[in-house]
Symmetry: C2
Subunit: 199 residues, 2 copies
């Protein structure tokens, strides 16, 4: 019954992923994953390097999935239009895969885990491309990317964790946020300097 033998690392990660999306990333415990696979938790160590290793695997999985969603969203779109599509793809991803999304937020020092660092960085490439197309000066690219990411991440963090008290059209709030950020980027691309509060 069940798989008597022959669990693979991918099986373990897949189980963790399901668990994360269903019950939250914090529910991904070796005990829970093991139970889901009808196995005792020490057995998982044959396939995955402890809880930390599993989390790292999940982060890779998440980075790649989000990157693919971005690539698909930006396909045959450019500039601001692509940015808008990216923003909505971001939200859709976070809503559809909350656990995986949370797993992608794992922060890593570049010299601590270069591989994962690179994978997480690759996610942003479609964003960088779209920003350049939109006319953002290269010198401000880092700042604008960070702003774009901050806005989206902050919103999803609040939405997913229930930080928005009343469900008063979260959808529309998101559109407002995107519009606000995009208009700022647009102005910045046209005008050159940042629009306000520039020291």
């Amino acid at each position: 019954m069940a798989r008597k033998r022959g669990l693979t690392p991918d099986d373990v990660v897949a189980a963790a992923r399901e668990l994360a999306d269903a019950d939250g990333l914090e529910a991904v415990t070796l005990a829970a994953v093991a139970e889901r696979l009808s196995v005792r938790s020490p057995s998982l160590y044959s396939h995955v390097d402890g809880l930390d290793g599993l989390r790292r695997r999940l982060a890779f999985e998440a980075a790649e999935a989000l990157r693919l969603a971005f690539v698909a969203a930006a396909a045959d779109r450019t500039g601001l239009e692509a940015l808008e599509a990216l923003a909505h793809a971001y939200r859709a991803f976070a809503r559809d895969h909350p656990g995986l999304y949370a797993a992608a937020q794992r922060a890593v020092e570049p010299d601590e885990d270069p591989e994962l660092y690179a994978a997480l960085g690759a996610v942003l490439e479609p964003v960088l491309g779209a920003l350049l197309e939109a006319g953002v000066p290269e010198g401000e690219l880092i700042h604008v990317t960070r702003a774009f990411r901050s806005a989206l991440h902050g919103f999803m963090e609040l939405e997913l964790k229930g930080g928005f008290g009343i469900p008063e059209s979260v959808e529309e709030s998101f559109r407002h946020l995107v519009g606000l950020v995009l208009s700022g980027i647009e102005g910045l691309a046209a005008g050159g300097e940042a629009p306000a509060a520039q020291d």
Copy 2:
């Protein structure tokens, strides 16, 4: 030696707060707090309702501290200028009190803990006031507030957790973000409708 007798709930919360700011909110464990107070962890139950109760107390503490920081920042400023000051006060608070800041992010359903919900909501009042002064239409107030909060929260989440790989002038990135959001709000207040990506 030390306090032989007479630990108070406030002592416990204060110890937790120090621990949170020094080592991160996840380091706030009953065992760690107890050790810091030279006491065994079961003793804390006399003063605080378990780990959850302690976290709740921390959330109150955090909400009030942040609210005060906001009130101070907005004092004798109005509109966009006040918003800019609020933004910088937000970042300063998060940087100075990372643990407390994290504790403030605890999400609560309105009917689950109305008191805490109210305390957390009160934090945003100075923001609402400034937005109104800045000319944001009342119908869009919720959305703009959410956008403002999302941007700030997302940025700090990324900054504090080390999500910005290179420390390439995080300071300047933040000014960019603030400028971008403020210009969006400004345009929205003047123009009426949201600037882009509407519908």
